[in-house]
Amino acid sequence: MKGRNILGEDLARMLKGGVIMDVVTAKQAVIAEKAGACAVMALERVPSDIRAQGGVARMSDPKLIKEIQKAVSIPVMAKVRIGHTAEARILEALEIDFIDESEVLTPADPFAHVEKRSFNIPFVCGATNLGEALRRINEGAAMIRTKGEAGTGNVVEAVRHLKMIKKEIADLQKMSPGQLKKWATEQRVPVDLLLKVKKAQRLPVVTFVAGGVATPADAALLMMLGAEGVFVGSGIFKSADPRRTAEAIVQATVHYNDAKKLAEVSTGLPQPMAGLEISALGSRMQERGW
């Protein structure tokens, strides 16, 4: 694959089994690092606030990003709007560790995602299915996450997207060379990339889950389904006790196969974020991007 960000793919491999937490201040970043986050995502408002307050959601102020970089030793990620190459260049100049081209922010380009291959900083992108994941990888994404439905505290969409990707990869095994070629053309992805996925029976980059994770059990469920790590957005700093919630989700992500441990970390946790029914949503962030 031409223009792969191999060093970025390597960094993603180091993050596996970890939890990446949304933070809006340097203080929150320190709490996240202490609680065991393997990286933090710097943004101005968490998804549930973006959802509630509306308005255009943009890249964070570089001032905030620099404060967060100064405060923690773990990797710092930040979000850019879909297709907003200028925001991405700004984050690159700030030397952050990973850029999230995110549907949580208001899309900037109605035609194209950022051409990621010309960047030295790796990108992580959201996907709802295999075709979308492969289009992002073909553009140069070094890591994939499910979109889920951010800011809802409802895990159902993250489960849907992870299972969808897995099912579509399984389906490739039964397809003839002709069918594979047709699928690749329809999905606008190179057939070589598709064949590589078929052979490896997985995406060629590390795959995390994101969107709606609110409890330790949510994180464990997604790990059981084959996720390689977890992004938590509003779930931590919108809970009644962020430090405890963060620690419990970190424990559940690592010990997802240990039911006793899961019971222990789930016991007596303060109120998680309230949560929203997907069918009651006015707009779905997962439908942004293509």
Binding site: L7, L11, M14, K16, S73, V76
Partner: protein
Amino acid sequence: MAIGVLAFHGDFAEHLEILRTLTVTGLEVRSLDDLKKIDRLIIPGGESTVISRFLAETGVGKEIIRRVHESTLAVYGTCAGAILIARNITGKNAPRPLGLIDITIDRNAYGSQMQSFETEIIVKGIAKKLPVAFIRAPIITKVGTDVQILSMHKGHPVLVQQGRILAGTFHPEVREQFAVHKLFLRL
């Protein structure tokens, strides 16, 4: 006995894959029980702050120290693993070291992901040059007199050994390079 790979977080699957290539049995280590089944342990790359928490909470960290002191455990740390087994760790928000090897190591000393790089290194006792990756890597800034330097890169030791403890600041496992693992299996 199986070769353990500490499996709380990080690229432990890549190390297990290397062990499979070498046709030795690998075991994911997350508990004191797992630790009983092994006499060699690889601590993978990842975030040392995260791995450190789990070493402390599970008691696995203390047991590693005890086993190394009674000479029943060999340890190979890569990147975050090398940080954790050092005697001294410098840099922001440094985790508590296990102190298995007499080195001082500086976390994220090259800088952010922009400064991550891949290169070929020469290792004492390995005939071929090894293509490896340095990912937000630490730098070994001091080595004790009993520590042997097996590889240098740009003036810094990148692979060091003291008895049955091996510390490397680079990742051979993400380039499917098994020569350093083979060397570790001979310690």
